[in-house]
């Protein structure tokens, strides 16, 4: 799924965050009922004119389980969350956590310098830094006096 970047919360706070939080909890509830996987991890998107930062919520995987790819202005974060208890003979009394493959694709407002993308996975949150491609940055042109 590609999310267009039309949401702009430049006010410094998001009046709908509470509402969206509830929506997510509701979605999770229904997802659990339908027994689907973690196919759609939550993400935050931050940017400046020349750089973007992504935060992706995905606890319980290791850094190698992520597949991060960038093509021009499209970023895809995919991977698999495995259940370490899957092979075990333990009785499951409650299973609210979902496992399986996930993928999320995002279109940025600028092309990305793919070689300079960096990512860090810490405490179950993946953080990706995406610098803008040098050739697409706006350049200041000096105007010469006649």
């Amino acid at each position: 799924m590609i999310i267009p970047m039309w949401n702009r919360w430049d006010m410094g706070f998001d009046p709908f965050s509470e509402l969206r939080q509830m929506e997510r909890q509701m979605n999770r509830l229904f997802r659990d009922i339908h027994g689907r996987g973690t196919d759609y991890p939550a993400l935050n998107y931050w940017s400046t004119e020349n750089e973007a930062q992504l935060e992706v919520e995905m606890p319980g995987v290791s850094a190698e389980d992520f597949e991060l790819s960038v093509q021009d202005d499209v970023v895809t974060i995919a991977g698999e969350r495995k259940d370490p208890f899957a092979d075990e003979n333990a009785t499951a009394h409650r299973q609210e956590r979902a496992f399986g493959t996930f993928s999320r694709t995002l279109q940025l407002p600028f092309e990305v310098e793919a070689d300079q993308v960096s990512a860090r996975y810490e405490h179950g949150v993946l953080r990706v830094t995406l610098p803008r491609r040098e050739s697409t940055k706006s350049k200041r042109i000096e105007i010469q006096a006649a």
Partner: protein
């Protein structure tokens, strides 16, 4: 305003109220123990608080990471939060020997069963 009240107020300001979120939990039972696995993305091992009081186990995790500075937030689906979940323990669990491990935002609690609750093999004697 006396000093004690002022100190209390600064302490509150340093730890702002975070929205409470219920973590997703899996519960497994093995022969000798019960395992609770909870998703708490963004919580480091230092920010986990586990208490047992009168057979009530409370697990709290503060996900209060530093958000990127100098960037504009364009789109948000999750935010710093306080994960909190309460369990009531049955008497066959040994509340004094709970083990907790926090890894990649997943908290794993191992609660051993008491000696009495563990399955025992009863020898049958020939008459």
């Amino acid at each position: 305003m006396n000093q004690e009240v002022m100190q209390k107020e600064t302490a509150v300001a340093e730890r702002p109220e975070l929205p409470a979120v219920m973590p997703a939990v899996n519960l497994y039972e093995r022969e000798h123990e019960v395992v609770i696995v909870a998703d708490m993305p963004g919580v480091s091992e230092k920010n986990v608080d586990i208490t047992v009081e009168k057979h009530v186990l409370t697990v709290t995790g503060r996900a209060d990471w530093t958000e990127p500075a100098g960037y504009d937030l364009r789109y948000r689906e999750f935010a710093p939060a306080e994960f909190r979940r309460v369990f009531s323990l049955t008497s066959d669990l040994d509340a004094d020997n709970i083990k907790a491990v926090m890894r990649h935002g997943v908290l794993t609690l191992t609660l051993p069963k008491t000696e009495k609750a563990k399955p025992r093999k009863i020898e049958v004697l020939a008459a």
